[in-house]
Symmetry: C2
Subunit: 202 residues, 2 copies
């Protein structure tokens, strides 16, 4: 065999190029040739690593999901001591907002995939699983808050988790549209969290 190259490594490199393009021109707007050019490789080489465009998109989606999960996990584990549910929720939601240029790109790509899922059954099912997992995680944190008496007992963790997700995704969209600054976006999330956790003291 010739030069032994790390296939996964190459695929990640290509996925990176795809994101950059998808972030500024949309997912469908990125042709294989464009991606290859952005990655600094030839079309032939790209096709050597991805048989079809669908395969490339699929891999990139899988990868972005793992990265996002990793970022959230790292962010939470970086917190000092035993973080409260509220802190965990805040950090998790913050990671889902387009607060810096990097997460702006990530967020745009996520939306591109969201749109794709709107029109295709397969990716929709896949995305649903991811959303449910995230919702369950958030619900778990809310439940923990209820147990610790930090959240009013009449709040249903499942519903609260759904509200949180919808809210953060909505705020995210508004931020990308430059309707809010990143700071305002985070303030809105904090405001909602304050309501969720603040009511218990009264």
């Amino acid at each position: 065999m010739p030069k032994r190259v790390d296939h996964e490594e190459r695929r990640r490199l290509i996925a990176g190029a795809l994101w950059r393009l998808a972030a500024e021109r949309g997912l469908e707007g990125a042709s294989l040739r464009d991606v290859a050019a952005e990655a600094g490789i030839s079309l032939g080489q790209l096709q050597h690593y991805f048989t079809s465009k669908d395969e490339m998109l699929g891999f990139a989606l899988e990868h972005i999901g793992q990265l996002a999960e990793g970022r959230i996990r790292a962010r939470i584990e970086a917190l000092p001591g035993e973080p409260t549910p509220r802190t965990v929720l805040r950090e998790t939601l913050a990671e889902m907002l387009p607060l810096d240029e990097n997460s702006r790109i990530g967020q745009r790509v996520q939306i591109a995939y969201f749109v794709r899922a709107l029109y295709d059954e397969r990716p929709r099912t896949h995305a649903r699983e991811g959303s449910r997992a995230l919702r369950d995680f958030l619900a778990g944190q809310v439940a923990r808050g209820v147990e610790r008496g930090e959240v009013p007992a009449d709040r249903d963790p499942g519903c609260e988790a759904s509200l949180l997700m919808a809210l953060v995704e909505g705020v995210s969209g508004h931020t990308l549209m430059e309707l809010h600054t990143p700071e305002e976006a985070m303030a809105l999330i904090d405001l909602h969290l304050e309501r969720l956790f603040g009511g218990a003291a009264a």
Copy 2:
């Protein structure tokens, strides 16, 4: 001159065909030929009414905005007597959710334009204006609620309006992804409204 035809009427007819396609395949996925076929006319005829694709998309966007505004207005005016701010808010938000097949289509097309706005400066500016107008309307209703003592006085109408919009758009997306049923979506909105208005009694 030959047959005198109602230009606006034709353009609306074409816009309708565009929506149907955009709802199921996305906005960029609808080619001029497809739209013409869906509208039951020839490509040549379509080009007679819209010089370029951009012009067609622009007209359709303008039109869908007017329709949405009209639906909301009609829905509110159909309410008996002098509606409370809460009722107005509920009806307005309900109209923004994909609760039936028709609004599902409308919602999908809106998203298609939202995506477009993400990547283009011009439509983004335009969309921002619309969003701000809607936000101001919602904020006005919240302020009215505060005046009438139905909403706690410490709630900032602007922030609450932003939260409502983000929430309804997030829930809308989740509903389109079939993460929620339309009923669950409405229940989530009602839950949030209950919090917004309920706190005053306590």
